[in-house]
């Protein structure tokens, strides 16, 4: 019999972890139910992205002109913020896999702070847009822009609620190296929100 506590062999995202020791046939991280939700969300956003792209092809000049009016710097800053928050959530997941629940909570709180920063910048951007008289009925580009970004905004809010619940449970010591499905479930949702924004940023703010 061997003594000591059992630590999962894939507990760290590190170059120090031998690739040969990594099991590449694991199930999806977290609760499988969240993945059904994630795939459904990705499908919805995928259809909206396709609709935007084809609408643009039919109204090229109008889309290009309206796109120039967007605050690209805020879109860029928000991308950096969301990517970093996603990284923090990944570190939270790694922390709990080695039983560091307080560190897990700290990473999640940091991610929540960045999520709040994203919302503030997006509200500033919406305020600027509305101050210029832009609305859903201004034209087809702004309809897509406002609908897509607001739809995503609500996903960020939902993600932050989930992360807050997970962080609270982490601080309460409800997760461990052996039982941390909740952290991976909430984290997977947050990474999906980040993934969607990465595509949205390129599509709406950059490509013209």
């Amino acid at each position: 019999m061997h003594g000591g506590t059992a630590v999962p062999p894939i507990s760290r995202c590190s170059v120090m972890t031998s690739e040969a020791s990594v099991d590449y046939a694991q199930p999806l991280p977290g609760d499988f139910a969240i993945w059904i939700f994630i795939f459904a969300e990705l499908l919805v956003f995928g259809v909206l992205f396709a609709a935007y792209a084809f609408a643009r092809s039919a109204h090229l000049e109008m889309f290009n002109a309206a796109q120039l009016s967007l605050n690209r710097a805020l879109g860029f800053a928000n991308t950096l913020i969301l990517v970093t928050s996603s990284y923090f959530v990944a570190r939270a997941s790694q922390s709990i896999k080695v039983g560091r629940s307080r560190a897990c909570g700290h990473w999640l709180v940091a991610a929540l702070g960045l999520g709040g920063g994203f919302l503030v910048l997006k509200l500033v951007e919406f305020h600027q847009d509305f101050a210029r008289g832009i609305s859903l009925s201004t034209n087809l580009f702004y309809m897509f822009y406002l609908a897509l970004t607001f739809f995503h905004f609500m996903h960020v809010v939902m993600g932050m609620v989930i992360l807050a619940v997970v962080a609270r449970k982490a601080y309460a010591g409800r997760y461990s190296a052996a039982d941390h499905t909740g952290v991976e479930t909430g984290g997977s949702y947050w990474h999906m929100v980040d993934l969607v924004w990465i595509i949205l940023f390129a599509l709406v703010y950059v490509i013209h």
Partner: protein
């Protein structure tokens, strides 16, 4: 030794740095003249960024190939549809 072991970047940390770098390149490319080359470059960078998030943040590099294929197919499909729509405009 402890310090030396701490020096190499974790894959997820390296991915984060790469994501910040690729996002900055995408943003700078946005100031370039519009055209197919810009669209192709930004889309390619976006697919790479998406794959980094899927593999190293979501942790799908360790899951069954089926799920990795599904996510990669999603990214390629979305990128392909966007590229096609832009090519006919």
């Amino acid at each position: 030794m402890k310090l030396l072991r701490a020096l190499p970047l974790r894959p997820c940390t390296a991915s984060w740095v790469a994501l910040l770098f690729l996002t900055t390149i995408s943003f700078e490319l946005g100031a370039a003249a519009p055209g197919g080359a810009l669209m192709a470059a930004v889309l390619a960078l976006t697919l790479i960024k998406g794959q980094l998030v899927v593999s190293y943040f979501m942790g799908l590099r360790r899951v069954r190939p089926l799920w990795r294929i599904v996510m990669a197919a999603y990214l390629v499909a979305v990128g392909g549809v966007i590229a096609f729509a832009y090519s006919i405009s």
